[in-house]
């Protein structure tokens, strides 16, 4: 097993330098003296590594400097100027977020000049801000609102718009844009162009005419946007929010004829507590079950079930591709790419459509569950599928687009009716008068009540790969994964490194399990092979890997690659609570991995509910004709040019 350095490809930079942190190379002599610099902040001495920004230095001594355009995930823009501080000897104030300390300076964070400038900046922002906090999605979680409070705004010094100047863009299934609330911090632009390397939105116009727009001022629904919602998660105000489906879901709940079923994914469960004041990384999975029933959902299912189902289908697909290539010596598309992240899928459809054959045809867990509920579950319980409303609680805004893809109707109905984000569901729960952390715990409903740890870790980057490996390695070698990896924790694919690459030599093979007997005579073609896999999260990292594959590099030799559209995987999805930062992602991941460790069953192919569906319903096994009809899909060549 080796783990060579993930590629560090020199891909053309996307965000201009004007919106980037500029680094100052420390001189050799400065490094020799330890590369540190001493400064004072409000009279307090601080010692920091050379090049640390004033903002970071201030944090180390607990001095609060307000920020607006700054975000820990993004490059530095230095545009809002709210973080202005006084540096002795300098004529103008300096932006603390963008000023790298390289000399022993004296900083003052709240002098009269500083306070006046900040107050004016807030006043100016409000003079250009049309919005009503009562009716705003970000009420009580808005950085502009907090600044107004912090700087004691008691009237609109420079006026306040009385009429909207923009129309709200609701063209996208996922992202709604209300430019009247935009403060032009450009976080969304930097998110899209730099963190995600999609580049959907940019600043157009100059001066006070500047505004955030997509290509040629087109609505977001008509341009190359992957619906990842990462921009929403970084917007400090209500200018961006996810398309709201709660009214429709309430209507279904209120309709006595409807059987409303909700599936909950692992990532929102690890994060929804944040919406109720809990520290990040507080899993509330079983409290949520109770809350959902009280809110009126008829059944509460665990997306982990269909995650396990996905592993069976996607893992089998991989084994079949390997058989095709190695045993039958026929062409097969390698590497196989995961397909459970709809943001990633759309990214590939736009930017690398020639690689569609590499995408696993397996639907995402959300969509598989919808199809199973409206067929298997409906039959088993004698419910007319037209009366079933399937709701999915997802960490993701792209799931809203996914469930509306026209091809997602294998059951004869729309497989999933509504995808709700973590934030939307938190609102519904609050509206039901429920304080989630206070709920007693309760289990998921049958017949999908048993989950495995493999399903849970889908929420973290590397999780799908780990789950797939747990199953594939056991199926092929006939030995427990624990023999290879302690506690079945496949550490090399875990972590937050943007791109990870792992080689797994298959020294021995075992007998073919019953489920595959009809399709595979033996595993000998895998003996002595080295399984090469990789993981990438966030489309910027996906791009690195794809460019390498195009060049025929290291990653083109992989067998299987997990791609997630969002940084950190689903736990960092665009539907998750705001804020999402590197620390918060870490806390959510810790919650997910600890849940995994607590499960009795850790491997998808050992999930009895999954085995039952193959015994009772999909009797020809994974990747059979029936399962293809229900659980697999096809993709659309979209390309990156807009008419």
């Amino acid at each position: 097993m080796s783990n060579p350095n993930p590629l560090d490809l020199d891909i053309a930079r996307r965000a201009p330098t004007s919106q980037r942190a500029q680094t100052i190379a420390a001189t050799a002599s400065a490094q020799a003296i330890g590369g540190h610099v001493s400064l004072t902040i409000d009279g307090q001495p601080v010692k920091v590594p050379l090049g640390t920004t004033i903002l970071e230095a201030a944090k180390t001594i607990g001095a609060h400097i307000p920020t607006l355009c700054h975000h820990p995930d993004l490059c530095v823009a230095g545009v809002c100027r709210i973080c202005s501080v006084e540096v002795e000897g300098m004529r103008t104030l300096q932006a603390a977020c963008a000023f790298p300390v390289t000399a022993p300076i004296h900083v003052h964070t709240h002098t009269r000049k500083v306070r006046q400038a900040r107050r004016h900046i807030v006043d100016l922002l409000l003079s250009d801000h049309y919005g009503d906090c009562y009716t705003c999605k970000r009420n009580n979680n808005c950085e502009l609102q907090s600044l107004a409070q912090e700087y004691a705004v008691d009237f609109f010094r420079f006026g306040h718009p009385e009429k909207p100047r923009h129309t709200i863009d609701t063209s996208s299934y996922s992202v709604v844009r209300d430019l009247d609330k935009c403060v032009l911090c450009r976080r969304c632009v930097r998110t899209c162009i730099d963190l995600q390397e999609v580049g959907t939105i940019e600043v157009l116009g100059r001066g006070d005419q500047s505004h955030i727009k997509a290509f040629q001022d087109k609505p977001l629904g008509d341009v190359v946007c992957i619906n990842c919602g990462q921009c929403i998660n970084r917007c400090p105000t209500g200018a961006l929010h996810a398309h709201d489906d709660t009214d429709e879901v309430w209507a279904a709940i209120d309709d006595p004829k409807k059987h409303v079923v909700i599936q909950t994914a692992p990532s929102p469960r690890a994060a929804i507590g944040e919406c109720f004041g809990m520290p990040p990384g507080t899993p509330l999975t079983f409290q949520l079950n109770t809350a959902l029933r009280r809110a009126g959902f008829d059944r509460v299912f665990d997306t982990n079930f269909s995650a396990d189902l996905t592993i069976m289908e996607e893992g089998t697909e991989l084994l079949f591709r390997l058989k095709k290539a190695l045993l039958l010596r026929e062409p097969a598309a390698f590497p196989q790419f995961t397909s459970c992240s709809p943001g990633w899928v759309k990214y590939l459809e736009h930017f690398y459509p020639e690689y569609i054959p590499n995408l696993s045809t397996a639907k995402s867990p959300q969509q598989m569950f919808g199809a199973v509920i409206k067929t298997y579950y409906a039959q088993k319980h004698g419910i007319d599928p037209k009366d079933i409303v399937t709701v999915a609680l997802m960490p993701c805004s792209a799931k809203k687009f996914e469930c509306n893809r026209p091809e997602m109707d294998a059951s004869g109905f729309k497989d999933v009716d509504y995808g709700l984000t973590t934030r939307e569901l938190a609102r519904m729960i609050r509206e039901s008068g429920i304080h989630l952390p206070d709920m007693p715990k309760s289990d998921f409903d049958q017949p999908f009540g048993t989950a495995t740890g493999s399903g849970v870790i889908f929420g973290a980057t590397g999780g799908v790969m780990e789950a797939a490996l747990r199953t594939v390695l056991e199926v092929v070698t006939g030995k427990p994964v624990e023999a290879l990896f302690e506690n079945a924790n496949i550490q090399p694919v875990r972590g937050f490194e943007g791109v990870r690459y792992v080689e797994l030599p298959i020294d021995e093979v075992g007998p073919v399990p019953d489920l595959f007997k009809d399709h595979v005579p033996h595993w000998n073609f895998l003996k002595g092979q080295t399984l090469k896999v990789a993981v990438a999260h966030g489309t910027a990292n996906a791009k690195k890997v794809m460019e390498d594959i195009k060049r025929g590099g290291q990653f083109s030799k992989c067998h299987f690659i997990e791609f997630m559209g969002c940084p950190g995987g689903c736990l960092g999805g665009g539907g998750q609570p705001i804020p999402t930062t590197p620390e918060i992602r870490k806390a959510r991941a810790a919650a997910i991995y600890s849940e995994d460790a607590d499960y009795q069953i850790r491997k998808s192919h050992e999930n009895p509910d999954v085995m039952r569906i193959y015994n009772e319903f999909l009797t020809d096994g994974p990747c059979s004709h029936r399962s293809h009809e229900l659980l697999h899909t096809h993709y659309v060549v979209r390309g990156k040019y807009i008419e």
Binding site: P16, T17, S18, Q19, A21, Q22, T23, I24, V76, A77, G78, V79, C80, R81, I82, S84, T92, L93, A95, A98, F99, P100, T102, K113, Q116, A117, H120, I121, L124, L125, S127, D128, R157, F158, V183, L184, E202, V203, G205, R206, G207, D208, Q209, S210
Partner: protein, 393 residues
């Protein structure tokens, strides 16, 4: 054509030949000794700038000549390029030798596109004369210059926005530090100098630092080229030693009856008649060379309105104080014109102007309130007649 006598009196290429004989530190020492300060407006010592770039370690370095000349009332760079392009290119070549650059870029204002054929011809002639190319003057010193056309935005004259622009991005100022001398074009050390600065550098190499210092004041050495316009008898291009008083200058151009003079363009200072004794020099009234004369009949509010409209339009829109502040100042002037501005609000606007000067990201927003503040300060009586007085309290 000899609008600028001192430039006309120079021997072609004498400065460059001298520079070829000198070591890099010696060239910089000569420029530093002359105390030449940037002619683009900010007045940064050119020797210090070159020295920073010379001592930075990098595989490539660049010399960029800033010919964006967007400041209202400035046209001296255009005349210099038209009549003394060789002197400017000579200066760029000397700078290249001094800092170790192989490539020079002339950033030419979009409106000056008509100058391009002439400039390309001059460059071609210099290449043929081995004044540019793989071996400048037969030495192991490759250097060439290309022309990059601006697209007409004032902000692209700001050196970091200019670099963004050459790199193919929206012209917006970068965060500083670090400065272009350290991290400039394509992340490499880059010297950005005004057209006139580079021409003077060539003159200094030819005639020596002492000659240069014999003009001007101790802190503002040398001669400066001025673009004079407005209500005066003889608008046009002038050369005067720095330190000249406003009144002296006005006398020479036939504008001594002015009620005020705008020095340094729209972003400069509005100097009232009562202060015409002040000196035009970096230590008193700094300037990039624009002098706009306002005759007795001028309405200062109209002047302000004009300037602020310009800034509202030309702000890149990146940072809050400038994007929204200039709009508020403009609205304030309109309120004053309409007689609907209260004293309290005028005071608030002045405070806002100070905040803009302090907190804007680049020189545009930092200097755009200057005219507003100086007019409010110096023409109080005129404005007072137009503010609304409180009806109570």
């Amino acid at each position: 054509m000899n609008s600028i006598p001192t430039f006309s009196s120079m021997t072609p290429e004498a400065g460059l030949k001298k520079a070829m004989e000198l070591s890099r530190p010696d060239i910089i020492a000569e420029i530093s000794a002359s105390n030449l300060k940037g002619r683009g407006g900010a007045g940064f010592p050119t020797g210090v700038k070159w020295n920073f770039a010379a001592s930075a370690h990098a595989d490539r370095k660049y010399i960029v000549c800033n010919a964006d000349e967007g400041e209202p009332g400035t046209f001296k760079d255009r005349v210099i390029l038209q009549e003394y392009a060789d002197l400017v290119f000579e200066g760029m070549t000397i700078a290249a030798k001094a800092v170790g650059a192989k490539e020079g870029i002339l950033f030419l204002r979009g409106e000056y596109t008509y100058l391009r054929p002439h400039l390309e011809a001059v460059l071609q002639r210099r290449r043929e004369a081995k004044l540019l190319g793989p071996e400048v003057l037969g030495a192991v010193f490759p250097f060439d210059i290309r022309i990059f056309m601006g697209a007409g935005a004032y902000i692209c004259g700001e050196e970091t926005a200019l670099i963004e622009c050459i790199e193919g991005f929206r012209g917006e100022p970068r965060n500083r530090p670090p400065f272009p001398v350290n991290t400039g074009f394509l992340g490499r050390p880059s010297v950005v100098n005004n057209v006139e600065t580079l021409a003077w550098a060539a003159c200094i190499l030819q005639r020596g630092a002492d000659w240069f210092k014999s003009h001007g004041t101790e802190k503002s050495t040398g001669i400066k080229i001025f673009s004079v316009s407005g209500d005066c008898e003889k608008p046009g291009i002038y050369e005067f030693p720095l330190g000249i008083s406003v009144l002296e200058l006005l006398k020479k151009v036939g504008g001594e009856h002015a009620r005020a003079v705008q020095i340094g363009g729209a972003s400069g200072l509005c100097v009232p008649a009562s202060e015409f004794h002040r000196a035009i020099a970096f230590e008193d009234i700094p300037t990039g060379g624009s002098v706009i004369v306002f005759g007795p009949q001028r309405d200062m509010l109209e002047v302000l309105h004009n300037f602020l409209e310009f800034f509202v339009d030309e702000s890149c829109g990146q940072c809050t104080p400038c994007r929204l502040g200039n709009r508020k100042l403009l609205e304030g002037v309109e309120m004053l014109q309409a007689g609907t501005c209260s004293m309290t609000y005028l005071r608030e606007l002045c405070a806002l102007g100070e905040s803009m000067q302090l907190a804007s990201k680049c020189g545009l927003g930092q200097s755009s309130p200057s005219a507003f503040l100086s007019v409010v300060k110096h023409f109080r009586d005129e404005l007072m007649g137009r503010v609304t007085l409180p009806t109570h309290g």
